[in-house]
Every structure is written in structure tokens, then in C-alpha cells.
């Protein structure tokens, strides 16, 4: 994905995060949000291996071998950080103490089902902490490209890959659109600047509910 699209998604994720929120960001695209938190808004980031208060990446040469995030990347600690064991970390996650988690996806569907941990016969990295995060976080946001490399929609009527969790996703942020999962189906809330509603409908396998006013983001 182009850097400007990544930045756009990061900025849009950041809008969902409120002052004082405890947030867990998945590896990759979701971490873009860090660069877009407004000044004066304090969001506390968790790393599920066992830390709250994750700070910016360290400068080259200043990496601490004992300071990594859940993706294995080097991190720093902000003032007010805390370290704890991984069982406590997942108690925080599963127990509903995390305000929002943002994860990537292979597929997401109209019911808020998410598939992001394996492609049978091809790739079995394991679910890691994703199933707990999606089950426990107060708000589950998916951030991903709208279509896969072959141009196929990743927003489906029904996921056909093994699920990470059932009916837990509440918001989908892609390079094309912002979709809300509702009991009635997927609502197209916002579209990316330069696109039309029709562009999004064409690129989406799932049926979308189109409100009268669709904003740009």
C-alpha cells in the first residue's frame, strides 16, 4: 500500500481513539495510528507480551534487547509505563479492560466475523493473541486494504477462512471506506477522498447499506 493510503488509514483509526483510552494495536497497518494521535490526547498503548505505556520506536543504536512489542520490534517505554507477565496482560485483554483493539484482517464479513490467522494448506502462523484481543476488547476495529493483491474484496457476505472470532468487529477502516457493522448489516459511513459510492460498492462483495449522506475521510 502506498504511504499516503497508510497515513490516511492511520489518521482515521486515530479518530476512534479517545483521551485516556487503553489501546492495543496489531502488527503492521494498525500501528500507523500512533503517528496521528492529536497533541493533548493521551492514548496508552499495550503490548500484549506484557507492557502498558509503549512509546515511540527507539533511535537506531538505542535499542534495548529486553524491550520489544508483540511483533518483535524494538520499543521504548513512556513515563507511567508498567511491566507485567503475559497472563496478566491477557487478563487485561480478555477482561474487557482494553478500550479498543485495531487488527489487520484477511477477511471480515457482514456479521462482524473476522478471519486473520490462517489460510488452510498455505499459511498457519497461529492466532497468537488475536483471538483474545477480538474477544475481549471493548471495541474491535479492523484496519486493512479493501481488496487483496488479486483485487478480490476482503469485505464479504460470509468469511470462508477459519474465523478468529465471531461477531466481534464493530468498525472496518480500509483504503476505500469506513464501514460500520450493525445488526442490519454493513453501513457505508465514509469513503476515501476521490472515490464514489459506486467505486466502493463495486469493490465490495458484501452488500452495503448506503445512508443518505456518505462523508469523505
Amino acid at each position: 500500500m502506498a504511504n499516503d493510503k497508510r497515513a490516511m488509514i492511520g489518521a482515521r483509526i486515530a479518530k476512534e481513539l479517545k483521551d485516556g483510552d487503553y489501546v492495543n494495536l496489531g502488527i503492521g497497518l494498525p500501528t500507523e495510528a500512533v503517528n496521528h494521535i492529536p497533541k493533548g490526547v493521551q492514548v496508552l498503548f499495550q503490548s500484549e507480551n506484557g507492557m502498558l505505556g509503549v512509546g515511540p520506536n527507539p533511535a537506531a543504536g538505542e535499542e534495548d534487547k529486553d524491550m520489544i512489542n508483540a511483533g518483535g520490534g524494538f520499543i521504548t517505554a513512556l513515563p507511567g509505563a508498567s511491566f507485567f507477565d503475559s497472563a496478566t496482560s491477557f487478563a487485561i485483554i480478555r477482561g474487557g479492560h482494553i478500550d479498543a483493539t485495531v487488527l489487520g484482517a484477511l477477511q471480515v464479513d457482514m456479521e462482524g466475523n473476522l478471519a486473520n490467522w490462517m489460510i488452510p494448506g498455505k499459511m498457519v502462523p497461529g492466532m497468537g493473541g488475536a483471538m483474545d484481543l477480538v474477544t475481549g476488547a471493548k471495541k474491535v476495529i479492523v484496519a486493512m486494504e479493501h481488496c487483496d493483491k488479486n483485487g478480490n474484496s476482503k469485505v464479504l457476505t460470509k468469511c470462508n477462512l477459519p474465523l478468529t472470532a465471531k461477531a466481534k468487529v464493530s468498525l472496518i477502516i480500509t483504503d476505500m471506506a469506513v464501514l460500520q457493522v450493525t445488526p442490519e448489516g454493513l453501513v457505508l459511513c465514509e469513503i476515501a477522498e476521490g472515490l464514489s459510492v459506486d467505486d466502493v460498492i463495486k469493490a465490495t462483495e458484501a452488500k452495503l447499506i448506503i445512508p443518505q449522506n456518505v462523508k469523505y475521510f
Partner: protein, 218 residues
């Protein structure tokens, strides 16, 4: 991020019928200032979840002698004659729970678990009416999580994010109760600036703490 409030404000959040997980063991590490504020307000019909019923003049014992407790999940009543009298008089209903089981049931709620399987209490009255699960030839009692609306706990220091440290055996149930409140209020001896607590020394991360109250105890 935790908000600093007064004990009276803390007490005012608690409603008749609220389920409250309260830290402390025999009143050591008990949130005395918040307890006093609840007594002053006189909020009745409370359900308390606590290790022991403490003494008549200290800890949760003060809630009992002021007739504010309707029911309790507790492991030990031996130091408080008032609660035994109220129990015998049918004024208070008590579920006695082995201490380790109580801790796991409270932790389970805070950790989003439905419950745990424990061998403690097998072959005793504790297993009565409960589901017994057989795993690899061993029996366990299925002990469900205990939900609470509020946790009121006592710590030594809090930073302004709500990160907490404890003092010696006053730690006891406090970090576990802290996990379990839908709203957790920590009474502390001292509030320090963010960054003043060693991140390795934080026992309860601030994510568990919603409000901080400064203790009035000397």
C-alpha cells in the same frame, strides 16, 4: 487514566444493591477512608465480596455493624461477632467460600474468564449444588466467576495514571479485587507524578483503576 476524587464522591457512586469487591485481609490493607464515607452516607443493601469480615471497628466490619450489608461472599467470619449474629438472625446472607477459590473466582471475573476448576472443597459442603467436572481421572468443582460492580481497594502509592504499588502484607487481595471492579476505586497513602513509579515495581497497572482517593488514615 484515573481521576482523583474525594472519599465522599467515591461513596456516592455506590448504590443500594451494589456488588462491591473490597480489598484487605483482617483490615490490613483495607480502604478505611472509603468505608467510612460509605458508613457516613448509609447506603444499604450492599453485597460485599471480601476475604474476611474484619473487626467491628476496623475494615468492612464497620459496614456490617451499621447494617449496610445484605449479603456477602466471604471466606472467614471468625473475628467479627456482629456478622455472625446478623447471619443467625437472618439479616445477612452469607456464602462461605474457601479463600483460594474466592481469589480465583474474583480474578476470573477480572480476567474475562467464566470460572475455574478447583479440587478445593471436594467431599465437603462446598461442592453441594455445584457442577463436578472429571478431567483425566480427577474431579474438580466448577467455580463460576464472581461479578462485582465496584472494587474498592487500598494501595500505598498511585501515580496519576492509576498505577499502584502496595506495602508488604497489605497487598493481599487488593491487586485481585482491583482487576474485578466494573469501576475500581483505589484508596492510597500518596499520589505521585507520572513517571515517578519504577515500571518494574508497579503491581496493579493503571488500566485497572478508574478513581483514586487519598486516605485519611494517619
Amino acid at each position: 487514566m484515573a481521576k482523583i476524587i474525594s472519599a465522599a464522591e467515591a461513596a456516592a457512586m455506590i448504590q443500594p444493591g451494589s456488588r462491591i469487591a473490597i480489598g484487605g485481609f483482617l483490615a490490613v490493607g483495607a480502604p478505611e477512608t472509603i468505608i467510612d464515607a460509605i458508613v457516613e452516607l448509609g447506603t444499604k443493601d450492599l453485597h460485599m465480596i471480601v476475604i474476611a469480615s474484619d473487626w467491628e471497628t476496623r475494615g468492612v466490619g464497620k459496614l456490617v455493624v451499621n447494617h449496610l450489608i445484605k449479603s456477602a461472599q466471604v471466606s472467614h467470619l471468625g473475628t467479627n461477632k456482629a456478622i455472625q449474629a446478623q447471619m443467625n438472625a437472618g439479616e445477612i446472607s452469607i456464602e462461605l467460600i474457601p479463600q483460594g477459590t474466592l481469589m480465583e473466582r474474583v480474578r476470573a471475573y477480572g480476567a474475562g474468564l467464566g470460572g475455574v476448576l478447583t479440587p478445593t472443597g471436594l467431599g465437603t459442603v462446598v461442592e453441594e449444588g455445584k457442577q463436578i467436572i472429571l478431567l483425566e481421572g480427577k474431579s474438580y468443582i466448577l467455580e463460576p466467576a464472581i461479578a462485582s460492580d465496584f472494587a474498592i481497594i487500598r494501595a500505598q502509592k498511585a501515580d496519576k495514571l492509576g498505577n499502584l504499588t502496595y506495602s508488604k502484607t497489605a497487598r493481599n487481595s487488593n491487586p485481585i479485587m482491583a482487576m474485578a471492579g466494573k469501576i475500581t476505586i483505589a484508596e492510597v497513602d500518596e499520589i505521585v507524578e507520572i513517571g515517578e513509579l519504577d515500571p518494574e515495581l508497579v503491581v496493579s497497572p493503571g488500566v485497572f483503576v478508574n478513581y483514586i482517593v487519598i486516605t485519611k488514615e494517619q
